[in-house]
C-alpha cells in the first residue's frame, strides 16, 4: 500500500479511536448516573487517550521502517549477488546498486533470458530488489495497521471512571514538546557527527598538519591512478587567508558604518526617525544573499575593475574587494542592531552625569557610553564576523576559485565556503577525498563560527547582567 493511503488509513483509525473512546466514556457516565461515581476527566480526554494508544506505537514503527528499509533491502540484494560481484569496491558496488534500483523501477516484470552474463546478474538482482521491496512494503502495512488496532483495543480497556485520562494525555503532550525542544540538540549532534566522521576519514588520507598548514590547494584528483598529480593537494591555508581577507574587508565597511548608524539612531535620532529608519536598514539584512552576489559580480566588480585600472592597478575581474565591500554592506544591519541594543542598555544616569560635568553629547558618547557598552559592541562585532566568515553566496558568485595566498584585495582569492560549494556541487562519489575535503572544511568553518558565537553570546549575557 502506498504510504499516502497507509497514512490516511491510520488517520481514520485515530479518529475512530477518538470517537469510540469518547462515546464509551459517556456511556460509562450514563451508567454510573445513579451511583456517585463520576468520570475523572472530561470525555474528550478518554478519546484522546485511545487515539494516542492507537497512534504512537504504529507511527514509531512506520517511521523506523521507512527510515531504514532502503538500507536493509539494498544490503539484502547485495548479499544475493554472486561472490565475485560482492568483492567489488565500495564505489563500484554503489554504482551497480544504483543501476539495479533503476532497473527494478523501470519495468517490474522482465524475463531473465538475457544472454549477457552481466546483464543477467543485474536483472536477477533487480528482480530480487523489487521482490524484497514488495515484501517489505506489505509487511510494513500489515504491521503498522495491526499495531494501531492492538493499541486501539488496549486503549479502550483503559476507559474506566477512575482512569486519570487527562493526566496521561497531558504527560504525552509535555513529552512531545520536550522532544521538540530537544531537536535543537539533535541538530547540533547531527552537524558534529556528520562533519566529524567524514573529516576523520579525510584525515586518514591527508594528514591534519598538511591540511592546516599546507600552502597549495588543488583538490582535482585524477580519474586514473597513473595520471600526473593524481593525489591532489589539500593545503587549506590559502583558503583560510582568503576567507579572512574578505571577512576583514567586510568588517572594515560594516563596523564603522554600522556603529555610527547605531550611535546616531540611539543617541541623536527622534523616535519618529527611528521608527522609519530602522526597518529600512533591516531591509538590507532581509535581501537574499544570492541577490547581493549577483549585484557584486555584475555591477560592483566591473566598477572596481575600471576604477582600479584608471588608477594604475590591475585588479582581477573577481577581486576580493568587490565581494568584501558588498558583504560589508550586508552585515551593516547586524552590527547596527546589535550595537543599538547595547547602547540603549547603558543607563541614562551615566549620560546625565557626563552632561553635568559640561561634556557635549559627542564627548559623552565617546568617553562614557561607548566604553560602558564596549563588551557588548565587541560581542556584536564578533557575531558579525562569524556571519562574514560563513557567508557563502556572495563569495561563490563574486570571488574567484583560484586558491592564491595573498592579502592584496585587488586579486582574486577563494574562501572556505566557495570551496565547499565547488567540491560538493556536481555528481561525484560520496567517499572520494574531494568530497571528504569539503566536510573537513565544513568542520573548520563550524568550529570557528561556534567559538566566535559562544564567546560573543557569553559576553553579551555577562554585559546584560552588569546593568540590570
Amino acid at each position: 500500500m502506498p504510504i499516502k493511503f497507509l497514512l490516511i488509513t491510520l488517520l481514520a483509525l485515530l479518529l475512530f479511536g477518538y470517537f469510540i473512546g469518547r462515546k464509551r466514556s459517556l456511556a460509562l457516565k450514563a451508567n454510573n448516573g445513579g451511583a456517585k461515581k463520576t468520570l475523572h476527566s472530561l470525555p474528550k480526554y478518554y478519546g484522546f487517550l485511545v487515539s494516542l494508544w492507537a497512534g504512537i506505537p504504529a507511527l514509531i514503527i512506520l517511521l523506523l521502517w521507512t527510515a531504514f528499509d532502503t538500507t536493509i533491502i539494498t544490503s539484502m540484494t547485495v548479499s544475493q549477488l554472486p561472490e565475485q560481484t560482492q568483492q567489488l569496491s565500495q564505489d563500484e558496488l554503489g554504482l551497480l546498486m544504483n543501476e539495479i534500483i533503476n532497473l527494478s523501477q523501470a519495468d517490474k516484470i522482465s524475463d531473465v533470458s538475457a544472454n549477457d552474463a552481466k546483464m543477467l546478474i543485474k536483472q536477477t538482482a533487480a528482480n530480487n530488489f523489487a521482490r524484497f521491496s514488495h515484501i517489505s512494503n506489505l509487511a510494513k502495512t500489515v504491521l503498522v495497521l495491526v499495531m494501531a488496532l492492538m493499541g486501539l483495543l488496549l486503549g479502550l480497556r483503559y476507559i474506566r471512571a477512575e482512569t486519570r485520562a487527562r493526566n496521561y494525555v497531558e504527560t504525552a503532550i509535555k513529552l512531545t514538546m520536550m522532544g521538540c525542544a530537544s531537536i535543537a540538540i539533535l541538530t547540533t549532534f547531527g552537524i558534529i557527527f556528520s562533519v566529524l566522521l567524514e573529516s576523520l576519514q579525510f584525515f586518514k588520507a591527508v594528514p591534519i598538519t598538511e591540511f592546516l598548514f599546507g600552502t597549495t590547494w588543488s583538490p582535482q584528483t585524477a580519474i586514473r591512478p597513473d595520471q600526473v598529480g593524481s593525489s591532489g593537494s589539500f593545503g587549506a591555508l590559502p583558503l583560510f587567508v582568503g576567507t579572512l581577507l574578505i571577512a576583514f574587508i567586510a568588517m572594515l565597511v560594516a563596523v564603522p558604518l554600522g556603529l555610527m548608524s547605531a550611535i546616531y539612531l540611539s543617541e541623536y535620532a527622534s523616535q519618529k526617525v527611528r521608527t522609519v529608519v530602522k526597518p529600512i536598514l533591516e531591509i538590507l539584512a532581509g535581501i537574499p544573499t544570492v541577490v547581493y552576489g549577483f549585484f557584486a559580480a555584475l555591477t560592483v566588480a566591473p566598477v572596481i575593475r575600471d576604477m582600479g585600472e584608471s588608477m594604475g592597478f590591475h585588479p582581477a575581474s573577481e577581486s576580493a574587494l568587490a565581494a568584501g565591500l558588498v558583504m560589508g554592506v550586508m552585515i551593516i544591519p547586524f552590527v547596527s542592531s546589535l550595537s543599538d541594543d547595547v547602547l540603549s542598555a547603558v543607563p541614562q544616569a551615566m549620560r546625565d552625569g557626563s552632561y553635568g560635568m559640561g561634556a557635549t553629547k559627542s564627548e559623552t558618547i565617546k568617553k562614557v557610553v561607548i566604553p560602558a557598552a564596549l563588551p557588548g559592541i565587541v560581542a556584536g562585532i564578533l557575531l558579525a564576523a562569524s556571519r562574514a566568515i560563513g557567508e557563502t553566496m556572495i563569495v561563490v558568485m563574486a570571488a574567484g576559485l583560484a586558491a592564491k595566498m595573498t592579502v592584496n584585495p585587488m586579486e582574486a582569492v577563494t574562501t572556505v565556503t566557495v570551496q565547499i560549494v565547488t567540491l560538493l556541487t556536481g555528481d561525484q562519489e560520496f567517499d572520494s577525498p574531494k568530497t571528504l575535503a569539503a566536510f573537513a572544511l565544513g568542520l573548520g568553518l563550524f568550529m570557528v563560527t561556534l567559538i566566535l558565537n559562544v564567546i560573543s553570546l557569553h559576553v553579551v549575557r555577562k554585559y546584560r547582567e552588569q546593568y540590570e
Binding site: A67, T70, E170, K174, M177, M178, C180, A181, I183, A184, I185, T187, T188, G190, I191, S194, V195, P256, L257, M260, S261, Y264, L265, P279, I280, L284, G286, I287, P288, T289, V290, V291, F294, F295, A297, I332, P333, T360, K361, S362, E363, K366, L383, G390, T392, M393, V396, M397, I420, V421, L424, T425, F430, F439, G442, L445, T449, L450, N453, L457
Partner: protein, 427 residues
C-alpha cells in the same frame, strides 16, 4: 595677563561644538550610505530586470505545405504531432530572405526565431488540421539575440567582431522591423514555463513551484516543532535545570551557524544516511526547517513571555490545568507574535541558497515538479544558475527573477508587519 579656566573653556567651545556637529554628521552619513546602497541595488536590478517582462515576437507568414510535412487534413493525431514543422519555418525564412547563400548565414537565419516556433506551429496545426494547405500569419517567439537587439541592448557602433550579432543579422532584423513583423508582448512564458537552455524560452514556474513545495515542507515541520519547543521552554521547563540550559545555549548557537553547514548536515544525514531523494523539495524542506527552527523558537518564546502572568493565574484559579491554561489562553494570546516570527523565518528560508546547493538542488530541471520527491529547484537557486550563464538575455531574466523573489519577500514581510500592528497587544 593670565587666562582663567573659564576663558580657556570658552575659547575651546567653538571647536568642541564643531566636533559635535561633525560627529553627528558622520552618523547621518553612515545611514545615508546604507540607504544609497539599497537604492542603487534596487534601481540597478529593476532597470536590468524590467525588460525581461516583455518579449519580442516575430510575425511569419507560414504556408503549411502538406507535401513538405507529409500529412494532410485527414491524418490522425499521431501523424500530425510527429511531423517535422521546423522545415516549414526554415522554408518561410528562406523565402523572406532569398539572397542568403552561405552556410553560415543559412544557419544564422534559422536563429531568427526560437526553436519553440516549430512546437507552436505543431500545436496550432494539431488543434486545427484545417490549417494545412493554407497560408497563415503567426507570431513566433524571437531568438534571444533578436530580442536583446530589439530592446536596444546591442551597440551598433561596436566593431562587428565584438558583437554577438553580425551586420547581416542586423540587416535582417531591421528589415523585419520595417515590415512591422517585430512586436513586444508581455512575457507570459516567463511565468508559465520551466527552465530552459534557450534564454527566450526559460521561465520561473518550475522554480516557483519548487519553492512553494519546499516552503510547504519547511512550514509544516518547523512551525509545530518550534511552537512545541518554545512552549516547553517557557511554560514547562524546570528553571535552573542543566538540560534546559544546554537546550537554550544550543538554540542560540544554531541561530548563528552558517547556513552552508546545514547543507552539509543534509547531505550526510538525510541523503547519505536516510536515503531521502536528492534534489527534491522534501530534503530541501527538511534542511531549511532545521535552519529556521531557531528563528521561530526565539520569536515564539518572546511572544509567550510577553503574555502577562495574571492571565495564567486567572485560569489556574478557575481550575484549569497547566496544559489547559497554555493551550486555551497563553498560546492563543501569543499567536500573533508567533506567526510574525514564523513569517520572518519563512522569508529567510525562501531566500536561502547555499544549503540547497549542497543537496543537489542545482541540477538543471526543465520539468515542473509534481510532488515533494520530484527533482526541482527553487527561486534563489534558479537565480544563481542563470547568473552563471553568459547570454545577455539570461542576465535580464536573472534580474527579473530577483524582482519576483524580492516581491514575494516584501509581501511576506508586509504581512508580518500587518499582523504585528493589528493583533499585537500591549499589556
Amino acid at each position: 595677563m593670565k587666562q582663567s579656566n573659564t576663558d580657556k573653556i570658552k575659547a575651546s567651545l567653538k571647536k568642541r561644538y564643531a566636533k559635535e556637529r561633525r560627529f553627528r554628521l558622520y552618523g547621518l552619513i553612515s545611514i545615508a550610505i546604507s540607504f544609497l546602497f539599497l537604492l542603487v541595488l534596487l534601481v540597478n536590478i529593476s532597470i536590468k530586470g524590467l525588460p525581461a517582462f516583455h518579449q519580442t515576437y516575430v510575425k511569419l507568414d507560414v504556408t503549411i505545405d502538406a507535401n513538405v510535412l507529409g500529412i494532410d487534413k485527414n491524418s490522425d493525431h499521431e501523424a500530425l504531432f510527429s511531423a517535422d514543422y521546423s522545415i516549414i519555418i526554415t522554408k518561410t525564412l528562406k523565402k523572406m530572405f532569398p539572397d542568403v547563400k552561405s552556410r553560415k548565414q543559412k544557419r544564422a537565419l534559422k536563429k531568427l526565431v526560437s526553436n519553440s516556433a516549430a512546437y507552436d506551429l505543431r500545436d496550432a496545426v494539431t488543434a486545427n488540421p484545417n490549417l494545412i494547405g493554407t497560408t497563415h500569419s503567426f507570431w513566433f517567439l524571437a531568438k534571444d539575440d533578436v530580442d536583446v537587439y530589439a530592446k536596444g541592448n546591442i551597440d551598433r557602433n561596436l566593431a562587428e567582431t565584438e558583437r554577438r550579432v553580425k551586420d547581416f543579422q542586423l540587416a535582417w532584423i531591421d528589415q523585419l522591423e520595417k515590415e512591422g513583423r517585430l512586436k513586444q508582448r508581455f512575457n507570459s512564458r516567463f511565468f508559465t514555463s520551466g527552465d530552459s537552455r534557450e534564454p527566450e524560452q526559460a521561465g520561473i514556474k518550475g522554480a516557483m513551484v519548487g519553492s512553494l513545495l519546499t516552503m510547504l515542507v519547511t512550514l509544516s515541520l518547523s512551525f509545530p516543532i518550534a511552537v512545541g519547543a518554545a512552549v516547553y521552554l517557557e511554560e514547562f521547563a524546570p528553571k535552573n535545570n542543566r538540560w534546559v540550559d544546554i537546550i537554550e545555549i544550543n538554540i542560540n548557537n544554531l541561530a548563528a551557524v552558517p547556513s552552508i553547514v546545514f547543507g552539509l548536515l543534509g547531505l550526510a544525514v538525510f541523503i547519505a544516511f536516510f536515503g531521502v531523494p536528492r534534489s527534491a523539495p522534501l530534503v530541501g524542506g527538511l534542511v531549511l526547517s532545521l535552519m529556521t527552527l531557531p528563528t521561530i523558537i526565539i520569536a515564539s518564546r518572546a511572544a509567550i513571555k510577553s503574555v502577562p502572568s495574571s492571565i495564567r493565574e486567572a485560569a489556574y484559579g478557575l481550575g484549569a490545568s497547566r496544559v489547559q491554561t497554555t493551550f486555551h489562553h497563553t498560546l492563543p494570546l501569543a499567536m500573533p507574535g508567533i506567526l510574525t516570527g514564523t513569517i520572518i523565518g519563512m522569508a529567510q528560508a525562501l531566500g536561502e541558497t547555499a544549503p540547497l546547493l549542497m543537496i543537489g538542488m542545482v541540477a538543471f530541471v526543465a520539468d515542473i515538479p509534481q510532488g515533494i520527491t520530484d527533482p526541482s529547484t527553487v527561486l534563489p537557486v534558479q537565480i544563481y544558475l542563470w547568473s552563471d550563464s553568459p547570454e545577455r538575455a539570461f542576465t535580464e531574466r536573472t534580474s527579473a527573477a530577483i524582482m519576483v523573489l524580492l516581491g514575494f519577500l516584501i509581501v511576506m514581510n508586509f504581512l508580518a508587519v500587518l499582523l504585528r500592528k493589528h493583533f499585537e497587544r500591549r499589556w
